[in-house]
Symmetry: C2
Subunit: 139 residues, 2 copies
DNA sequence: CCGCATCCGATTGGATACTG
DNA sequence: CAGTATCCAATCGGATGCGG
């Protein structure tokens, strides 16, 4: 075996890029994680998933995000090719943020994140009942 | 509408917990993100997905992770109920880290992260080609 | 073998104030 | 309306060294 390990799980690690021994930026898992990383990012993506929005649209729908962080998230998402922005002429000025196909490709991931969160929650609930003292190791 | 919005996407936001206007710790998406958050975390999970491992097993398979970070990841994952550890008697001492059912519930998410990373990559490749054309045509 | 303690540079995200 | 600029406290992750 090239990497000295023959016990890879083909479902979990379908090809060579998933066998990295360290976090590599070109590993698909890292690419996906980077796309949704950072506080507020998934919420911004959620809003953009149902169509283009202006900056102030996003501010309204996410009232507690600061201008700095929102601008930063949009900048990074654009830099990664996940969205584009377009300045619309007229007054007042508006900007239209819109997901690219690459950005829309994140939709199944958001759905899976939600589903997994529910599944973990459920499993923890079961565990609390099943092994009532297993989770109290930390302090 | 309770929240003044009737345009929620039922696939993306199946229930009330996904409609938060801010990152809430009890939102399923946040729960799942928290589980895989942090550098090295998905790699540690990947290793534990195919069975229990000792601390030094993990060190060997992830040679570049520092002891501090590995211990920290294991501590947090345990605190979240995603794994358990068990000290095995004998010499030398060994510790057995093992995923709980809640931890195993992360498997589909890891698979989806990989799949999404590939999809984003592919879409970006397409876009480079597509916008290269569009750019020539429109500009 | 299995970690924890400490130090430290870098990054993060929030608050506030200001501009085209 | 759509952001930028600056400051700041908190967290993160890596390195090193030590203890059970």
């Amino acid at each position: 075996m090239p990497d000295g390990r023959g016990d890879w799980d083909g479902e979990l690690v379908p090809d060579e890029r998933g066998r990295a021994a360290r976090p590599e930026p070109d590993c698909p898992v890292e690419i996906a994680l980077a796309a949704v990383a950072g506080r507020w990012t998934t919420l911004v993506l959620r809003e953009l998933m149902h169509g283009p929005h202006s900056y102030s649209d996003l501010c309204e729908r996410l009232p507690d995000i600061s201008a700095k962080v929102l601008a930063e998230r949009l900048r990074v998402l654009e830099h990664r090719g996940l969205l584009t922005h377009e300045r619309l002429r007229g007054f007042p000025v508006r900007t239209r943020y819109q997901l690219t196909p690459a950005g829309q490709a994140l939709r199944p991931l958001l759905i899976e994140l939600y589903r997994t969160g529910v599944a973990v929650d459920t499993a923890l609930g079961q565990r609390t009942v099943a092994t009532a003292d297993a989770g109290r190791a930390s302090r």
